[in-house]
């Protein structure tokens, strides 16, 4: 089991403006690649930083020979991700937030990614099920925020942002593992990262949505 605490502590080091945090919660990491209708200069930024994330954060995890070392490298890589990811968001936030429809479009995800034959074969059913559930929870946050205007509870905003950062890292790493599973992934790495993605996204959703599931207050009778 990957200790989520170490990742969240690393995420706490990240600053950022309120505007950027809102963009971060609204953008599910794995949808960025799907939004290619953005202006060319922005697309170049996205592609460039995504490649940087692949090369500096994910490829080293792939190259480790055993699970413990791979997870250790994932923790170290997350520190780099924490620096790169906000840089990417800062670059595209003005364009994204200019029109809510753009965020909504980016939040619309291909939910069958995790159940595709290729992903199931690459990651295995167990890992794919954790990633699929993580993706659904993360998308529920993004969609709730962007489309339905679900408020972010101020007292939990920082924790939600940190958990989403961990989830975005783990989901992107899962996609990378699925695309680079040949010749063979280290045993257990996909399931471990899938559980990390799920735990962080689920905890963030719980913090964000608890008020929606609370019992209705008894109606007050006016005098």
């Amino acid at each position: 089991m990957v200790a989520i605490k170490a990742f969240v502590e690393a995420a706490e080091l990240q600053g950022g403006s309120r505007r950027l945090r809102r963009a971060q919660l609204g953008v599910v990491s794995s949808t960025l690649g799907a939004s290619m209708d953005m202006p060319e200069h922005l697309r170049n930024v996205v592609v460039g930083i995504a490649k940087e994330i692949d090369d500096r954060c994910f490829r080293p995890v792939l190259e480790e020979a055993d699970l413990d070392r791979a997870l250790e490298h994932a923790r170290a890589s997350f520190q780099t991700f924490v620096e790169l990811w906000p840089a990417l968001l800062a670059a595209i936030a003005p364009w994204l937030l200019e029109d809510q429809g753009r965020l909504v479009a980016m939040t619309r995800v291909l939910t069958d990614t995790w159940t595709s034959e290729g992903t199931l074969e690459a990651l295995g059913t167990e890992a794919a099920s954790w990633f699929a559930a993580a993706h659904d929870a993360r998308a529920a946050i993004a969609y709730g925020l962007v489309k339905n205007g679900m408020p972010v509870p101020p007292s939990n905003e920082a924790t939600i942002v940190h958990l989403c950062l961990v989830a975005d890292f783990a989901i992107l790493l899962g996609l990378f593992l699925a695309q680079h599973s040949r010749p063979k992934l280290v045993d257990g790495i996909a399931v471990a990262i899938g559980k990390l993605a799920h735990e962080s996204a689920k905890d963030a959703y719980v913090l964000m949505a608890t008020h929606r599931f609370a019992d209705p207050q008894p109606a007050t009778v006016s005098e």
Binding site: V104, A105, T107, R108, V109, T111, D112, T115, S129, W130, A132, A133, D136, A137, A139, A140, Y143, K147, K195, H198, K202, Y205, V206, M208, A209, T210, H211, R212, F213, A214, D215
Partner: protein, 125 residues
């Protein structure tokens, strides 16, 4: 008031499940009512609760203070059953599940029913 018939959403009851074959939850179990009060049905949908640890996206771990049960428990959203809201099935009311656990149950239900629920993005242009 909680604990009245018919059992309501988010209530934990001690109930008699349906007969089954190995692999299915059967016998007397604590259960969580998950169905909507607007379902317009003669049955209520319940998710069995077990003390046997199990890890899966469709299972929710719940602490005693959130469920009113004595042990750490696991709500199995992949073992939904439809039960008649009768005292023959629902034997004893425990308590309502704490609100902070409910979103996790909602996600677990989504995971169990993945592909069977409407795509939330379907109506977007």
């Amino acid at each position: 008031m909680s604990g009245e018939f018919p059992p309501k959403q988010w209530e934990v009851w001690f109930a008699s499940l349906r007969e089954g074959v190995p692999g299915e939850q059967t016998g007397d179990h604590n259960v969580l009512v998950v169905s909507s009060p607007l379902m317009q049905s003669r049955v209520v949908l319940v998710a069995p609760i077990t003390s046997t640890a199990r890890e899966a996206p469709c299972v929710v771990k719940v602490e005693p203070q959130d469920s009113g049960l004595k042990l750490v428990s696991y709500i199995e959203c992949d073992q939904l059953q439809a039960l008649s809201p009768s005292p023959k099935r629902f034997k004893e009311f425990r308590r309502k599940l704490s609100a902070p656990v409910r979103p996790a149950v909602a996600l677990a239900l989504q995971s169990a029913l993945r592909g069977a629920l409407p795509d939330p993005y379907a109506n977007e242009s």
